[in-house]
Subunit: 460 residues, 2 copies
């Protein structure tokens, strides 16, 4: 069993609400003795005799009988609780002094301080949720935008666990048949139908690859979409950034090369967080396309999920726009092209047929067509993907496990095609089962659990 | 009725726990529609049909059906709640984003954001507690030491309210009799026995004056005991301060006049907070007693609740200690005298019979007898007063009201003694009743309630 879980069953205590002064604070106890420990300090009713999911008013008193606070106690009897253990929640006045005293009192009476994430670890170990759901609890608490919240919520409520678990079970059944073949040693029996196995593996790989594909999106949605704004000097990059943010954050002037530092700003579009990076002013000796290729800009584009290319319609011919884009764009990088300063042209028409990216014309200075830029940015990233009920992987650990599962499954297929013996096939299947199982926690190690739950806050 | 209470009955909502990220956060609804509003957003069970003091698991969903969180809802049906109204508490994941969304959702569905202290205001207006108890709720939340906590707790649990209310009721009965006399106009009737009235007033004044006397102590216990350390240069004031704090906070040296600034440090003795002020080094032209009288030191002593006078036993004869104390001490100021540097004397004996204050001999440098100083400081302030169940006034508003009551009652006695007419006596009694009633809130104005509750945090 896991290190942290060694004392499973002993009673842990922690402040469950945010630290600091509030109207109320909640202290949570979980474990075999939770109710008895609470009963020792709580005066009003014997909690032991009360029903689960009921609330009781009374006082918490120290060993000398001094009233520490008047409280409400909520009772959750095993297994009908978050941890599936006996849980007592004490809602008291939100004074750090009072909270501290009550926690100390519970510790004096046999509870111990909970480790970070230990309540959720117990929920996982007691089968309340699988590991990917437990991980989503931390994501949910940390979520700060509608999208990161929705992704965490979807994962917490099941996500792709069921499908993974179902396919894994089918694979386990095949593995059992193949292991059975091994028992027959030299005899040339074949309990597991190879065609069926191949079909199952392909089905699993299809799911796995869909999930892996969703990770790029899931990761940017969870952490924010890194968006770089690039373009020649004086194209209006900072003005566009300000127009998008609707505030004057960058120093804007009509003088080329005003922006000296990288500015990163957060922009929320329809609940998705975009981290907009205005590239450093590229002061070129001569106004040549090569000078755009300043290493820093390329570096930033390399690290970004979206490129917003801005050009000045009054000075840059479309042919040079095409050249710039050829230099800047890379495979799989969504690009939005913005022709700025349309207010400075009279009647104008531009042939954008040779630009292979969505192109919008705006006036950043006059804030014309800025909403279209917002919407286009959103569409570029989302591509309808999170509108549907499609499953999105947001967790790097899950991506890694999916990738390893995929590799093992490919090895099974290759092995079968080249006619290797059943024991090698069985080994690769076991490896795939291991990696798939690590996602939902059917397979877990102490180290894995420690590394996951130590990132939680105490009290969760 | 009070401004804040105009909407009494409408449903208010606020975050009840401390702001910030926590494992869980609690949102509180109170008002006529609290349960209906919660039912609109909560899916799992119909709360309307559930019993008071029960807890229900379910989801909070927005108007489009999107799950905002999985929550536990606690139900308190009027009048069995903090506010005596219907109260719903939603315990959700402690993500500021989730908390914000749920509060917004409740507001969309008819709740309004609570003002600071509005839940407790309602508890007061609905007769859950009197005004002095409501004030103690804020004191309790702000309490940071055992003593300030105990005082607030004692007041919250009733304090002197009952006794004030009882005596006030007796006085009301007398007032009624006197007002009755007035109805008989010119006839010389006397329904209210003047001797009994006088006896009652004296009984009330005895209580009031006890309570007023307790305010000095109550106030220092609540805010901390301001303690000034004074003495001649190089007496060892900073060394003593450090020894008491058990840390090296002040710059200590053997050179006289090292301490250049006023240093204030907090020292907790048996749960009472002492704010220790080390006086600025008094660099005197000549080593004369007059030089101690630097204005600043006197100012600090003036503002302090306790004087800790330190002298160097190796250099200062007792006669000069007496002179110093005569200059420094003032009426009603508790003084502790400390003879320092006993380690530098061999066999020694000192006649302290002429010093009228408790005197201790110590070595601050060697930390000898420091615990005795701690205990003596504590005893000096407490004088056994908070050991007992005696009532202590900690609130300046209460002190003020007691003082005004006392004045009105004295006017009643003076009036009766000088044979003024009943209508004047009745007027003074009414004034006393008004001031006594304002303590517990039987008498209150909008302004008074506004000023009291606006100092609360939102959600309480």
């Amino acid at each position: 069993m896991n290190n942290m879980a060694k004392g499973l069953g002993d009673t842990i205590v922690a402040l469950a609400t945010a630290p600091g002064i509030g109207a109320i604070g909640v202290i949570r106890l979980s474990g075999n003795e939770a109710i008895q420990i609470a009963d020792t300090c709580f005066f009003g009713k014997k909690l032991e005799n009360q029903k689960s999911h009921t609330i009781h008013f009374g006082t918490i008193r120290d060993s000398k009988g001094n009233v520490i606070d008047e409280v409400l106690v909520s009772l959750f009897k095993a297994p009908k609780s978050y941890t599936k253990e006996n849980v007592v929640e004490v809602s008291c006045h939100g004074s750090p002094y009072v909270l501290q005293r009550i926690i100390e009192l519970f510790i004096e009476n046999g509870a111990r301080m909970a480790k970070p994430g230990e309540f959720t670890l117990r929920a996982f170990l007691n089968g309340q949720m699988d590991l990917s759901q437990a991980e989503a609890v931390a994501d949910l608490i940390a979520s700060s935008s509608e999208t990161s919240h929705d992704l965490a919520m979807r994962q917490m409520r099941g996500g792709f666990s069921d499908r993974i678990q179902g396919l894994r079970q089918e694979l386990i059944d095949f593995a059992a048949l193949i292991e059975l073949e091994l028992d027959f040693g030299e005899e040339d029996v074949e309990f597991a139908n190879r065609d069926d196995l191949k079909a199952l593996i392909q089905k699993i790989q299809t799911l796995i690859r869909q999930l892996m594909d969703s990770f790029r999106l899931g990761n940017v949605l969870k952490t924010g979409v890194s968006t770089v704004i690039a373009g020649r000097p004086n194209a209006g990059k900072s003005t566009l950034l300000n127009a998008l943010l609707n505030e004057e954050r960058a120093i804007v002037s009509a003088i080329a090369g005003t922006t000296r530092d990288v500015i990163e700003e957060n922009l929320n579009i329809n609940g998705v967080q975009f981290r907009l990076v205005d590239t450093a002013g590229i002061r070129e000796a001569q106004d040549q396309i090569e000078s755009i290729g300043v290493e820093k800009t390329f570096e930033q584009i390399e690290q970004s999920s979206v490129l917003l290319y801005v050009f000045d319609v009054t000075t840059l011919p479309i042919s040079e726009v095409e050249e710039d884009l050829e230099k800047l764009a890379r495979a799989n990088l969504p690009v939005l092209v913005i022709g700025n300063k349309i207010d400075l042209l009279g009647n104008w028409a531009m042939d954008t047929s040779k630009i292979s990216y969505k192109t919008l014309f705006i006036s950043a200075g006059r804030k014309e067509n800025i909403d279209a830029v917002r919407q286009a940015l959103y569409d570029l990233v989302i591509q309808g993907e999170i509108k549907t009920e499609s499953t999105i992987v947001t967790n790097a650990r899950h991506f890694d496990a999916l990738q390893k599962s995929d590799e093992s499954l490919s090895a099974v297929l290759t092995g079968m095609a080249s006619g290797i013996t059943s024991d090698f096939v069985a080994m690769d299947i076991r490896a795939a089962l291991h990696h798939l199982g690590s996602i939902t926690g059917e397979i877990h190690t102490d180290d894995l659990l420690d590394s996951i739950f130590s990132r939680f806050c105490i009290g969760k």
